[in-house]
């Protein structure tokens, strides 16, 4: 039944897949930069997209510990391929951001800050786990006692079109973490892809306004049931499982467990996991000074608790061994994060498992802490 009024928040409409382009154009008209998954160099990245043809239609990603392969199977769906190393974190919390420049005149420093206005992004295809990760990073960057102006400016403007995963990959465990496969809230639109159509659930006023004037049809009970069944099936096909009922205590009560030593021997401290993890938020500030000492730039860059210099302090290092740094990362992510921010820091996206060159898999490492220390 066609209807000219705007769809209600919480309602689900159905559109033909080609009609999706109209939504993307609308977003661009409103000044958004539409970013979505794209195939590049045999992998998946997040980059500007213009239409559905830019999406990785027909692809799937095979993921296992230390294994990622993008395969073209020729199927007809656009959003099947589970994301690669990149996450949306790089847009809200850029890997490199200019903070300010200083110029010295008369023994005094004058500051100038970058002119550019913060971009308005429209994230197209945010997985439920990725959406949960954004919400987790919100808690770290946007607080009552402090909020990060760079994150805030981008986050305020961002439009989120979430996608509900129908075909999880080998390292996925969003179900264990309670973050998916269905996006619950925090989106402007959420999309479920069926064979022939897209179902779009309206999540915000911004989304309602966006669709103003576009003729829409409410999704029938049959289609909704299709979607539910697909998501139920997806939930049963997760590649990994993690029992979190005993977290964070299992980790925090076993900080001296011999298993850390064992992992410490395998881990290369390469920082891949922290780079690909959508919730990791550590950063550093660097100074770059001109040779004459009269100008300097200060930048914020991503950092990692695996970097040896991370815990360096006045001539010594509080975490000199890889064992201690791996323990810091895991005991933070699935341990102390809960006390800091109210939830665990992991969303079950599986990237750290896929992109670890040493095949370290936290869904296997954590249960080892239950083994009696010998």
């Amino acid at each position: 039944m066609l209807n000219d009024r705007q769809p209600e928040i919480g309602s689900t409409i159905v559109i033909a897949k080609v009609a999706f382009n109209a939504i993307l154009s609308r977003l661009r008209e409103k000044g958004y930069e539409t970013i979505g998954p794209r195939v590049k160099n045999d992998t998946l990245i997040y980059a500007p997209i213009e239409g559905v043809d830019d999406l990785p239609r027909g692809y799937i990603s095979e993921q296992e510990a230390a294994h990622f392969r993008l395969t073209y199977t020729g199927h007809s769906r656009y959003f099947d391929a589970i994301p690669g190393a990149q996450s949306w974190k790089q847009f809200l919390f850029p890997p490199k951001a200019e903070l300010f420049a200083l110029r010295k005149t008369n023994n005094r420093w004058e500051a100038s800050t970058p002119e550019s206005r913060s971009p308005s992004y429209a994230f197209i295809g945010v997985r439920a786990c990725e959406l949960a990760a954004i919400q987790i990073q919100d808690k770290a960057f946007l607080r009552s006692d402090f909020n990060d102006p760079i994150y805030r400016a981008r986050r305020e403007r961002v439009f989120i079109l979430a996608v509900n995963c129908m075909y999880p990959a080998g390292t996925c465990f969003c179900v264990s973490m309670g973050t998916g496969p269905r996006a619950k809230d925090g989106f402007d639109l959420s999309l479920t892809e069926l064979e022939d159509v897209f179902l779009l659930t309206i999540g915000s006023e911004v989304a309602r306004n966006l669709l103003d004037g576009i003729p829409f049809e409410l999704a029938s009970a049959f289609l909704l049931r299709n979607a539910d069944q697909g998501l139920e099936r997806a939930a049963s096909q997760m590649g990994r499982k993690l029992d979190i009922s005993n977290l964070p205590d299992l980790i925090l009560n076993n900080l001296d467990h011999p298993h850390w030593q064992e992992v410490g021997l395998r881990c290369l401290s390469c920082t891949n996991c922290t780079q690909v993890c959508p919730t990791c938020f550590c950063w550093d500030a660097t100074d770059e000074m001109s040779l004459d000492g009269k100008e300097t730039h200060r930048e914020r860059v991503w950092d990692s608790c695996f970097n040896p210099g991370y815990s360096y302090q006045a001539g010594g290092n509080t975490r000199p061994t890889i064992r201690s740094r791996y323990r810091q990362w895991l005991s933070h992510k699935l341990g102390t994060w809960k006390q800091q921010y109210g939830t665990l820091g992991c969303v079950g996206c599986g990237r750290c498992i896929t992109w670890c060159p040493a095949e370290i898999d936290l869904t296997k490492e954590i249960p080892m802490l239950q083994e009696e220390a010998r």
Partner: protein
């Protein structure tokens, strides 16, 4: 855990991350061989006027081209004309600070962190046990006690350093003694002309009588000294909740955002540096945590 209030930092920029306010070096006091105190005053008088801090808090001092260093404030909170920072020259940033002259400027952000619970300590005996570069963050607490002496019971300062030449602020000890603070000093070793105590800080606890029901211990210094001071305090049945420690970790942002200074669930820069010991006890003795 005691949820300590922190004062909202005055000298920060909420719109431009890490952009500092600027302060001029008004004077430099050479304290001991590798430590000098830098007396700073904001170049903007309005900021200087509104800047306040609590004993135990720190500022991030910024040397353009080098970076920032977290330095405890060591001056009297009541003196609003200048802010003192005792800097030990031990890394790139602090060594760069060491080249500053009077009249130069330095970036300043702050104040940050939790502070010594001076209000909570009223009516108690206060036993301050510290060593080396651990005295500067406690000096503002001592000034507060001096200003409000009758609000506190028996007050003791047990302070140690490596050698007599490494003892800081010694020219003030007699004034403190006159104000009825028992100032006791020790060194790890001395020359033959040293007539004071020789022996590590924790060992001297046996020389004091403690009423465990009303004594609070404040401590700051190398973590190993803190560890043994706490053993001594606990051996005298001083409850964990009456022991306060100032901790130190690598700090970059001072605001609990960059992650560097974490010890377990705590960001030393915003949940500390002053902690009630029961809060950090589960993580304090875990090696390399």
């Amino acid at each position: 855990m005691v949820a300590q209030l922190t004062t909202r930092p005055v000298a920060i920029n909420t719109e431009h991350l890490l952009e500092p306010q600027w302060a001029e070096v008004t004077s430099i006091t050479k304290e001991i061989n590798d430590v000098s105190t830098y007396w700073l005053k904001f170049t903007d008088p309005a900021i200087q006027k509104s800047y306040t801090f609590q004993p135990g808090q720190f500022n991030m001092l910024y040397m353009p081209g080098f970076g920032e260093s977290a330095i405890s404030i060591c001056s009297d909170p009541n003196d609003r004309s200048k802010i003192g920072h005792s800097v030990r020259f031990v890394g790139n940033v602090t060594n760069a600070i060491g080249h500053l002259k009077v009249g130069d400027v330095i970036g300043l952000r702050g104040p940050f962190g939790t502070y010594w619970p001076m209000k909570e300590l009223e009516g108690k005996d206060v036993f301050i046990s510290c060593g080396g570069i651990g005295l500067p963050p406690l000096r503002p607490a001592i000034y507060h006690i001096l200003r409000n002496r009758q609000k506190y019971g028996k007050v003791t300062l047990l302070y140690g350093a490596r050698t007599p030449a490494d003892l800081m602020y010694t020219n003030e000890f007699d004034d403190w003694r006159k104000a009825n603070i028992d100032v006791q000093v020790t060194v790890d070793r001395g020359e033959s002309n040293w007539t004071g105590r020789v022996g590590v800080v924790p060992m001297w606890f046996y020389q004091f009588r403690f009423d465990s029901r009303k004594t609070a211990v404040l401590t700051c210094g190398p973590e190993i000294m803190i560890r043994f001071v706490i053993y001594e305090a606990l051996a005298r049945r001083i409850p964990l909740e009456s022991i306060f420690v100032s901790m130190e970790r690598n700090m970059k942002c001072g605001q609990g955002s960059c992650g560097h200074c974490q010890l377990g669930p705590y960001f030393i820069c915003k949940d500390g540096p002053v902690f009630r010991f029961d809060a950090i006890q589960p993580f304090f003795n875990v090696e390399e945590f």
